[in-house]
């Protein structure tokens, strides 16, 4: 009798058994809160060029500005307060990562379900396209797309979705093939329910839960991928820097001792990714019946 309420409770208990995962969850919550509350937390709006003072550029951490505010993490080449830039950058990085993952999950799940149900030629064609796409590194696909499309938040989400949907399509198809053989699907067919209803109302809820866990880990990958693309200058416009772009901006000064411009965004990025991974890995282990004690 292991389902829903009891399953959730057991999952929570399993999850809480790992102190590291709990720490990861707390960290993630703090980071998410900081990102969401950035406009209220940040001392400065880094996107408002009027607030930036070029005279205050590349100040070390703890320096004071002309009007008396302290730059706790220093400033970058445009005189941007690094703390504010990082908070706003987190917002973009996490937002892009989550949005891309959810979209990729939705598209991949739909494609995988339809392929598993249709079978035959449709399935073969769809799955060969998936195989073909998965044989290229995700970053290559995203790079090519962004090089063609140009910068922009919507475009980078599109590129990330294009790079990741195939992974979900394959996973969902596998799970749906196993689920399809169960008698409750036959029962739905005998009741002459519409095909879309069987696919998305009956099959999907039974296929989705393990996939959501996989998606949690994939959020970290999406964030890292976005940071990589931004670092290479292909992601977002310079006026709205994400973490990757901030790191890229400070890269040139790294050897001249002005470490803070790259270092602090790097720390923020690494912490976010580690926190997401800690939570995701533990969730995956807790849901894996073979690892359950």
């Amino acid at each position: 009798m292991t389902h829903d309420d009891t399953l959730l409770r057991r999952l929570a208990a399993d999850f809480a058994a790992s102190r590291l995962a709990l720490a990861g969850l707390a960290l993630l919550a703090a980071i998410a809160a900081a990102a969401i509350l950035a406009p209220w937390l940040a001392p400065q709006n880094p996107y408002d060029l009027a607030e930036l003072d070029l005279a205050a550029s590349r100040l070390p951490p703890g320096a004071r500005s002309a009007d008396g505010t302290t730059f706790w993490l220093g400033t970058d080449g445009q005189g941007r307060d690094m703390l504010s830039a990082i908070l706003y950058g987190l917002r973009i990085s996490i937002g892009v990562g989550v949005a891309a993952t959810l979209l990729a999950l939705a598209i991949g799940a739909a494609v995988g379900l339809v392929a598993a149900w249709a079978g035959g030629r449709t399935e073969s064609v769809v799955m060969r396209v998936v195989d073909l796409q998965l044989s290229f590194p995700a970053i290559l696909i995203a790079l090519v797309l962004l090089a063609v499309l140009g910068p922009g938040v919507g475009k980078i989400v599109f590129a990330l979705v294009a790079a990741q949907w195939a992974y979900y399509a394959r996973t969902v198809r596998g799970a749906a093939l196993a689920e399809r053989r169960k008698e409750y699907v036959d029962a739905a067919v005998v009741l002459a329910l519409p095909r879309a209803r069987i696919l998305f109302g009956h099959l999907l809820p039974n296929v989705l839960p393990p996939l959501v866990v996989v998606a949690t880990v994939q959020v970290a990958n999406a964030i890292a991928l976005e940071a990589t693309l931004s670092f290479l200058g292909l992601g977002l416009p310079v006026t709205e820097p994400s973490l990757g772009l901030l790191i890229a901006n400070g890269y040139a000064y790294l050897l001249s001792g002005k470490y803070w411009i790259s270092f602090f965004p790097g720390v923020a990025l690494a912490t976010t990714i580690v926190a997401v991974n800690l939570v995701g890995d533990r969730l995956r282990d807790a849901l894996n019946p073979r690892l359950a004690q």
Binding site: H3, E183, Y184, D186, V190, L191, A192, L193, N206
Partner: protein
């Protein structure tokens, strides 16, 4: 004479595993590689009249479940015809096709596996009638409660998930779900095999009550002769994809004609039998991948004749309403 509710005419089902590339190359090079095919059903004809209960018995692996799936329309047969009230279902379109589909419902073997684990009973039972417009969405609750009451469940069960129910309750929910689309025929594939004996009896009584109250017809498939005997008007016996005997239940249990039926009945536990001898059916059921030629039963038959190895005995009427596929019957007739 009116057409029977459901009629299967010379239905065959062949499951073939297509050759893979390696095998195709081997065959192109002249190797003797054939396509592995299983004849799960081999020219089976069966009819269920309005309000009639037809029992279908046979050992596991003889094609009973495949026949159930064809009877309910889940599979299309690879040969032969399925007729609903005298009309081939393959030719039905639109509303008529939908009504014919809904009129034949299935009760599954595993009550838990046949219920979607993420749906509450109210949705499991109430979804299809709302989708098909048999009840309004607003009336769903009352309709579900009415159905649950009919199958002997409390209306409060509607809020539960399948895993929160007992085996007997799950079986009843499965029955309520089938009844929700107002069927005329229930195909029960080993519907009580997974239940405890006491619960089995309750569910069988429920089937009997539903037949009485709603005039339902049944195709009742089971390996358990006692269960079939309790419910069926007519019994068909299957062996390796063929029907070997079919007769009114009473006559069949009183005087089986086919050696296989006799062997099955001899194995049936009975109170009056003191000393049991289990020598009745010798050997194993042969592989359906390579069934024996002629009569499929001849390697295990105590009366096998040379002819049985060569020629397939057809199902023939050996007495009014009684059919058997055995050369013994034909040869015994003139005496």
């Amino acid at each position: 004479m009116t057409a029977p509710l459901l009629e299967l005419r010379a239905v065959s089902m062949r499951f073939a595993r297509p050759l893979d590339t390696a095998a195709r190359i081997a065959r192109a090079l002249g190797a003797n590689v054939g396509e592995a095919a299983v004849h799960a059903l081999d020219g089976v004809s069966l009819a269920v009249a309005q309000g009639e209960v037809v029992g279908l018995v046979g050992e596991s692996g003889c094609g009973k479940s495949t026949l159930a799936r064809i009877a309910v329309g889940l599979h299309a047969p690879s040969a032969g015809e399925r007729l609903w009230k005298g009309r081939p279902t393959a030719s039905l379109r639109g509303d008529a096709a939908l009504r014919a589909r809904l009129a034949a419902q299935m009760i599954f073997q595993d009550p838990l596996a046949s219920l979607n684990p993420r749906m509450r009973v109210a949705e499991l039972v109430g979804e299809a009638p709302v989708v098909h417009g048999l009840v309004q969405r607003a009336g769903r609750r009352g309709y579900v409660a009415e159905l649950l009451e009919r199958v002997g469940l409390d209306a409060s069960v509607a809020r539960r998930y399948p895993h929160q129910l007992s085996g007997g309750q799950r079986a009843r929910v499965g029955i309520a779900r089938a009844l929700a689309v107002r069927p005329e025929l229930l195909v029960c594939d080993e519907a009580v095999a997974a239940l405890d004996v006491s619960v089995q009896a309750q569910v069988l009584n429920l089937f009997a009550a539903l037949r009485r109250d709603l005039g339902l017809a049944y195709l009742f498939i089971s390996h358990d002769l006692g269960v079939v005997r309790y419910l069926a008007d007519r019994v068909a016996v299957m062996y390796l994809g063929r029907i070997v005997e079919s007769a009114p239940a009473e006559a069949l249990f009183a005087a089986p004609r086919h050696p296989y039926t006799r062997a099955l009945l001899a194995e049936m536990p009975r109170l009056e039998v003191r000393r049991k001898r289990f020598a009745a059916v010798r050997g194993e059921i042969p592989s359906p991948l390579a069934p024996p030629p002629g009569c499929h039963f001849h390697p295990r038959c105590p009366h096998a004749m040379p002819r049985c190895r060569m020629q397939r005995p057809e199902l023939a009427e050996v007495a009014p309403g009684r059919f058997a596929a055995c050369f013994l019957d034909v040869t015994a007739e003139p005496q």
